[in-house]
Subunit: 420 residues, 2 copies
């Protein structure tokens, strides 16, 4: 090694050592998401990825959307490429109210909205605005890994509450609140994905929805309702969100990532009037403003395109892919494995017999040419999990069958070894 | 009032009262930026806004950029509109290294970059990853209001260090560090805008640059170098950034907002190798990924357009506007006012005699048809300030003259009352 290179290395090691003391306490809580972990792997050619929850985009009219973007920049470039307002454009906020009306929220006011850089950014701001280190956010067991990472980055103690096939169990919620409060813990919010939960695909049944809100309200706990998949119900109308009828007690998070395109990085938060200003200012402090360019593209998409028609197309496609995956699971998986039967969304949640840890199986699966997300990613505990998440949204039916065929022997072997 | 409306109001007030207890301690620190405060006002027709630091976009080839966006979506829409990697696209990261080379950074590695949602988002993440409540970040006096808001949202104690006409004063920095460390305070970083500081327009002279880094290094303080205006030097080559030669001790923040367009919401952080992973994961936890669509637009702009030529054009324009503003100030302002003479960037910093508070003058100025940002916004203290920031970047020379003509009588009157 040349002396110069060696000296540079010594300096770098010295800096690393000195700087270790500079990290914040919360930095120790900032960790890699298992989903993002396999992001690079899952785009390898030849691999079937049942990992990422990417939406299907091939049915979007890309040529026409390109023309729309062309017009926006050529004719309104001075607005689209400039700084915009921190709350998001008024026209888009009005249109978001129409989207929410389609989801069943009838009284949204554009003034109570903040357009965010994806729904993820709204989760980050919620934790920032409401949680001191050690405060509790309740969530479903299992829940979205990205929310877990975001909350934990603020040293939030995320506590999981049991679900059954009808979603979050009200009695379990009540019990967990009682336990935590008797320990003197401060519970700030319930984070819930009531429709087609990520990762389980389970939906909170209608009759439980107001019960859940009422329990939270009684204990002065905010409801943080994350509903990116609400409009992606395979059959029938969307289930009414928890926000409807509870404008003062629910912060509602929506996203264009699943109903249009993640690449625009736009979501929104509908915030109770009395909480809106601080929420909005916190958003502004992080990004100044959402991109006017992508806001204008989404706005044009909502006004000039048959976005509900596209939704219809993708819902039918997701429904078909879900059926294909369910059939493939039934055909190839042993009887001791069980799985959910979602009414919408992107995901199926597979449960293997107790004692199996799905995390080491991921590497075997990658060798076999298929990727999934191990269940441990979706709970706040680091304990091994016998579950795994399979996404059917972005994979052709043919690839779904191939993927399950590749996965099945690995699961079978794990089940056999577990018995032995 | 109908009984129903009244009942709803009572419920809302009750919720507001109950929910007040839910805010985090840091939420009390989240406040409106004075710049954003006047954002809506400044776009009123007829008003001359010398407030916002918006770049000049009219010289961008909007028609061609529209065509480029058209091609990106029509031909690569499945990539542009989908989720992307959290670190940003590799091609763009390579191009950013070329941009930094033009700024004088010769050894940047694309692997050490994170593409962020504007530079603002990188400031947010820096505070998150490095600062516990009560930790100190040092900054220039004055400094960027957005950084102040972002740092204070993490309960960082931001401490200002004196500048003179050659930028941050090394002796003042050393003294402030000694004072704070003797009080047992933990200083995590120096946040500095060394070239054409926002709001003062002052540049840290070359001979002080390594001295500043060495002082910080000796005391184990990271340097957070924010350099959005570095390439906007009116004459001659950009000054070498503090990062050059100090790869292990400086986090370098760049932005496309000033050299291309803010509407794409893209900036970057070049992070020392040993700090990169946590920084990157924290970025990912906030936004998952920067927009692939706007990344591809910027990437195409850098590869297919004469971006250095555009920079040349805007530099000449900003230089001319700056001269116009300096002449107008000399012509219209009384002798007791002084101001800076920037070598680049967007801003001139005006100092009125001591005892004058420029904040109440803002409302008089708005009535007179001109907007500026009062100086108090740019220091961590809430004390009244006799300074004000004037931006010349986004205003025609004609409007600059009109704006100063409208502003001058208000400042003159304030100076006269102050004497009386």
């Amino acid at each position: 090694m040349p002396a110069e290179t060696e000296a540079a290395l010594v300096r770098a090691v010295d800096s690393a050592h000195r700087h270790e003391a500079l990290f914040s306490d919360r930095a120790a809580n900032i960790k890699q998401s298992a989903v993002r972990d396999v992001f690079d792997i899952s785009i390898r050619p030849g691999l079937v990825s049942l990992a990422g929850g990417s939406p299907y985009l091939r049915s979007l009219p890309l040529k026409e959307l390109g023309d729309t973007a062309q017009q926006i920049i050529a004719e309104h470039g001075l607005e689209a490429l400039q700084y915009g307002g921190g709350q998001g454009m008024e026209k888009l906020r009005q249109q978001i109210c129409e989207v929410m009306a389609a989801e069943g929220i009838t009284d949204a006011d554009p003034a109570d909205l903040v357009v965010t850089t994806g729904s993820q950014s709204a989760q980050d701001v919620a934790a920032k605005v409401f949680c001191n280190p050690g405060d509790v956010i309740l969530c479903e067991d299992p829940t979205y890994v990205g929310a877990l990472n975001t909350f934990e980055a603020y040293q939030v103690d995320v506590q999981a509450v049991a679900m059954d096939d009808d979603g979050l169990v009200p009695e379990a919620l009540q019990q967990r609140i009682d336990e935590l409060q008797s320990e003197g813990r401060t519970i700030k919010a319930l984070y819930t994905i009531p429709s087609f939960n990520n990762p389980s695909g389970i939906t909170l049944k209608a009759s439980r929805r107001q019960v859940i809100v009422d329990i939270c309200k009684k204990h002065n706990i905010l409801v943080l309702e994350d509903n990116p998949y609400g409009l992606l119900r395979f059959d029938g109308k969307p289930l009414t969100p928890l926000r409807e009828g509870n404008p003062d007690d629910v912060i509602y998070l929506g996203s264009f990532s699943k109903i249009f395109a993640p690449g625009v990085r736009l979501g929104w938060a509908l915030v109770p009037k009395h909480l809106h200003r601080r929420f909005y200012l916190a958003c502004e402090a992080v990004v100044l403003c959402p991109s006017p360019l992508t806001q204008m593209l989404v706005s044009a998409y909502l006004s000039d395109y048959d976005w509900l028609g596209h939704l219809e197309t993708t819902r039918a496609l997701y429904s078909e892919r879900c059926s294909t995956m369910l059939s493939a699971l039934a055909q190839h998986l042993p009887a001791s494995a069980t799985w959910t039967r979602p009414d919408g969304g992107f995901f199926i949640w597979v449960t293997l017999p107790e004692g199996i840890d799905t995390y080491p199986l991921l590497y075997k699966a990658i060798d076999a040419g298929v990727v999934f997300i191990p269940g441990a990613a979706f709970t706040p505990s680091d304990a091994p999990s016998n579950k795994l998440r399979l996404a059917f949204s972005a994979v052709s039916s043919e690839d779904i069958v191939t993927g399950i065929e590749r996965l099945a022997p690995i699961l079978q072997e794990a089940i056999a070894s577990n018995r032995a």
